[in-house]
Every structure is written in C-alpha cells, then in structure tokens.
Amino acid sequence: MQHDPSATPRRNISKAELFFGFLKIGLLGFGGVAPWARHIIVEERRWLSDREFAEILGIGQVLPGPNTINAAVIIGDRNQGIVGVLLCLLGQMAMPLVIVTLLAVVYDRVAAIPEVGAALIGAAAASAGLVLGTALKMIRNIRPTPLSYAIGAAGFAAIGLLRWPLVPVVLVLVPTAIAATWWERRK
C-alpha cells in the first residue's frame, strides 16, 4: 500500500457511529448515494481520506452489487466485523425503504400536481451536478498520475459519452488500469 500523507490515523469506528452515519447517508442519498457517502465519510466524520474512500468505492464498483452497498460491507467489517456489516447495511436501507413505500402509497394523488413534478426534476437535476462535482473534487484531492487520468477518461468516455455496456468495459478497463499502474511504478 502506498503511504498516503492525507490519511487520518486509524481508529475503530464504534457500532453506533457506523449505524447512524449510514442512516444519514441513506436518508440524504437523493439521486445516488456515492456523493453523500463521501460527504459524510470523508468531509463530515473524517473516517477515511479521499484516497481510501476512492479505493473502497473502486472495489465496490467492480464487484457485483451496488457500489455503496459493497462499500458499506467493507467499511462495516473493517471496523466492527460482521455486526458492523449488518449495522451499515441496515442503516443505509432503513429510511429509504420506509420512504419509498410511503411514496408508493401517495404517488397517484401527488403525481398529478405540476409543482411536485417540477420540484422533483429540479432536485434530480441538482443531484446530477452533485455527482459530477463530487467526482471532480475527488480527482482534485487525489491528484492522479497522468496515466490514471487517461484510464479514468477512457472509462468516462466509454460509459458516459459512448454509452457502451458496463460489463465489457469493466472487463477491458480493469486489466488495462492494472497494467498501466504497474508500468508507471516500474519507472
């Protein structure tokens, strides 16, 4: 592992902190959980540095399953073992499950109000900006090497611009990224 000067000193995060941290991430996680997870974990609670968070998110991304759920599993286990995993998952899912069921019950009455639709679309448009701004901020803080920039840009172009299917892109991009990182380190 590379030494990371911005890394916070290791300490075990308590069970209650894990549960309530992920409860907040789930509750706030409009339009994608990853930016909120970073906001709470890196900026608000300082559990992890940007680099550590990106590493865990990267692992969560290439494994099957939602990336923030996988990240919750890994963070929970590292701090409090299997109980930590369950608390992080329960925390992240609890409020969203209640809210989505309530919305489903009132949806037909509410959906016809134009202001409600406009507010939802306005918030969703902001969520898109939240995802972009968070990614840019992580890039600024992590300061990738030139080859890392190229790998990230290739992934962005393939998925975001060309809209190629994710699985084959990941299958090509990950080995390429490993080879590039290895080559860059040898120099």
Binding site: P64, P66, M93, M95, L103, L132, A158, G160, V167
Partner: protein
C-alpha cells in the same frame, strides 16, 4: 403466495450475482424478468415504480424492493430486497477480507491504486448520464452545472443545492 415469494427470491438472487454496476445496469434484465417473463407488473406500473424509486433517497436497490412490495406486499419487499443484497454482499465481505488481510502485498496495493481511476471515471459518467435523463431544458441544465460548481468549491451540505434546485425549477414553471 409462497410460490411467488420463492420465485422473487430466485429471480433477484441470480441477478445479484451478475449486478456489476448496480441495479441501474441491470434495468433491461429486470424489466425482462418482471414484465415479460413473470408478468408480475404491467409496463406502465414498472415505469411508475422506477419513477418513485428515483424520487426516494437511498441506493437504487430500493427499486427492486418496491417491485417486491407491489407484487407481494411487505413479505415481497423483504424477500426481493434480501435476495438482491445477500449474494453480492457475501461476495463483497470475503473480497474485502482478502484485500484487508493481504493489504501489504504489492499486488493488492497495485489493484487498489488501479481501481481508483476506474471508480472516478464511472462516477463522472453516471453524473453525465443523470444529466441526460433529467435535464430537458435550459433551467435544469443550469441547475446541474450550478450544483457542480457549488459542490466542487465548497464543503457546505449539498442539501442546500438540492433544495435550491427544486425551488428554482418550481419558480421556472410559474414564470415561463
């Protein structure tokens, strides 16, 4: 009823193991299973459920939870959610253990460094694809861009930007 629950569990547990990129990447396959193969929902109900899940906070797994709820009530919600979460989470649990255990091995360090740009590229791509789905006029594009700048330049709670986005878009409805 038990038959439906068993079928929900089987369907989503299998999808869980192939869900690289999360639920959104699986959308076409979920549609095929839920609407075409099992006939649990109409096309219209499926689209509505997707809209509701998108308006809720939380991981987009809750779209699958909502399908379970619409198909078989609370039991369906629990079965669909757990079926989708357990297989991939067990895999993540053991993968995370292996990586932590061998964290000082050079190959693990290499893998972790290599995955960072992949994660960042995917995150940028998902922001762009959200903009493409949601932003259909100048106002929404401006809301997205203004939020990008707000999040990039400040450490303030992003909820301010989401609230402002909602208010601006409602105001635009009245002034246009």
């Amino acid at each position: 009823m038990t038959g439906v629950l068993a079928e929900l569990a089987r369907t989503f547990a299998l999808l869980s193991l192939v869900s690289i990129g999360g639920v959104n990447a699986l959308l076409p396959e979920i549609h095929r299973q839920v609407v075409d193969i099992h006939g649990w929902m109409t096309d219209q109900a499926f689209a509505t459920a997707f809209a509701i899940a998108n308006a809720s906070p939380g991981p987009n797994v809750i779209f699958v939870s909502l399908i379970g709820w619409q198909v078989a009530g609370l039991a369906g919600l629990l079965v669909a959610t757990l079926a989708l979460l357990i297989p991939s989470s067990v895999l993540a649990y053991f993968a995370g253990r292996v990586l932590t255990r061998w964290s000082h091995h050079p190959a693990v360090g290499l893998l972790r460094d290599a995955l960072i740009p992949v994660a960042l590229g995917m995150m940028l791509a998902s922001g762009l694809s959200m903009m493409r789905t949601v932003d259909h006029d100048v106002v929404t594009v401006l809301i997205s861009l203004a939020t990008t700048v707000f999040v990039y330049t400040t450490r303030r709670n992003p909820l301010w930007a989401l609230g402002s986005g909602a208010i601006v878009n409602v105001a635009a409805l009245h002034f246009s």
